[in-house]
């Protein structure tokens, strides 16, 4: 099989910038997803039936609609509906973040409900408010327990960033497509891109596992 990796070496800086965009997109969408997820998960656990139902609708909607559809809708339909111009990077961050937030919310809710109810009762008995108890007693323990599923979700977020190539965010997959299109060397370029994604995701997955092993005792009750 004839292989030629020269196009990769010739365009290393082009691909490096694309990798930077992938990392930026992943980090921003993870941040947004985490913030949304903590709010949603906490409110669903402690917010009462009405709040639980409303936010449950958001979670079920995001889980029922493919990420690609959410992404394309955010890029095309949202500007038409609301009369605002949305660039591809912003659309990607918001779509990925909101989609991820639903799954993070469920992981957060599972973590919060896994902490024994006695912890909350004890905190309230000591004179803490509910907000104080959640913030200082319940959430820290719950977050440690959530590390394994959160690690999985963040790894998925990095991989999902590649879907943003559909709306032409200049991330790694999209720029790899551009390079493959101009050089007609798809095997070399896509294999290299796959390897880079592995190098991004593997440390995240192993890292969160290692972190959980170190902190697991702090999350037990």
């Amino acid at each position: 099989m004839d292989m030629n990796f020269q196009p990769l070496f010739d365009s290393w800086f082009f691909l490096l910038k694309a990798l930077g965009t992938t990392i930026l997109l992943s980090v921003l969408s993870m941040l947004l997803g985490f913030v949304v997820g903590v709010v949603v998960g906490t409110l669903r656990t402690y917010g009462g039936r009405l709040v639980n139902a409303l936010l449950g609708f958001y979670v079920d909607t995001m889980r029922a609609i493919p990420l690609l559809v959410v992404l394309v809708w955010m890029f095309f339909a949202f500007p038409i509906l609301f009369g605002v111009r949305v660039d591809s990077m912003t659309a990607a961050v918001v779509a990925l973040g909101l989609h991820l937030g639903a799954y993070v919310g469920e992981a957060i809710r599972a973590g919060l409900t896994s902490v024994r109810r006695g912890q909350m009762n004890a905190a309230l008995a000591l004179g803490m408010s509910r907000v104080q108890a959640i913030r200082t007693i319940i959430l820290p323990q719950a977050l440690i327990r959530m590390l394994p599923p959160l690690g999985s979700l963040f790894t998925i977020a990095i991989k999902d960033s590649a879907i943003a190539s559909v709306i032409a965010v200049p991330e790694l997959l999209r720029q790899s497509q551009t390079l493959a299109g101009q050089t007609f060397r798809p095997f070399e370029i896509y294999t290299s891109a796959m390897f880079v994604y592995f190098l991004l995701c593997y440390p995240v997955a192993r890292g969160t596992d290692a972190l959980y092993r170190r902190l697991a005792h702090l999350g037990s009750s």
């Binding site: 082009f14 490096l16 339909a77 038409i80 559909v166 007609f184």
Partner: protein
Amino acid sequence: MGLTSVLRGMALSAALLLPFAASAETAVPAPGESPKIDQIKERGTLLVAAIGEFPWLPENTTGSGPQFSGPAWVLAEEYAKRLGVTIEVVPVSHETKVPILASGGADISIAPLAVTPQREEVVDFVVYSQSSLCLFGKGDNPKLANLKSVDDLNSEDITIAFFTGTPPENWAPERFPKAQLRGVAGSGANAPVEEIMAGRADVATIDYAAWPTLAKQVPGLISFPPGDACLQSQEMKTGVGLASDKADTKFHDWLQGVYDEIKDTVTAEEIRILKG
């Protein structure tokens, strides 16, 4: 007859047209005449939807320097200069290069677009080039061994691949009613080379201008029409241009007028890209 002859023909056309270039500059519509131009001037930027495609809008993949070159870029720069604004590139994919105009995400789409009746229903074109198609496949494919012409590909045991959402999707069923057709999602490439290399299709469509580069980069491929005849293919001969939304005809008229003034420069840039 080959690429050199094609380039000579284009250069001769450009030289013949030069004396007839309009001496008066196309006036920018006055405020209030074109809502799109008023919007561009107020914003201070010309939003151009772009995706690289050889030879009309090659993308610079070195990571430094201007992002694009080619005849479409020359036009975009001229439009921005005359409006007194800067260019802002809006990256698009093959799926989004036309719909972005309707959503207001771009003022013009300089992604090279083949003129088709379906596209003409939703956008206005400024045609600055021509294109035609060749088909290519592996030279060692036994199914292609005895085939000599494009007509020979119209056979039940031949699978033809093309990108969905592109003009061959409408052209191929009429041109090859007997063949198996395989539409695949655009990969950003000029042609679905992966379908041929993976053996999922026997032949695939490609712009004639991109064939020489493909033949050089991927040895062992053959074309239909064969060899240099591909460069003068008449298959799906169509105009190639940039697009604007249908809503503002004054804007389109101005775009067309500017192109008419500088068409020799635009053609010269295409020749430079093809030669390089």
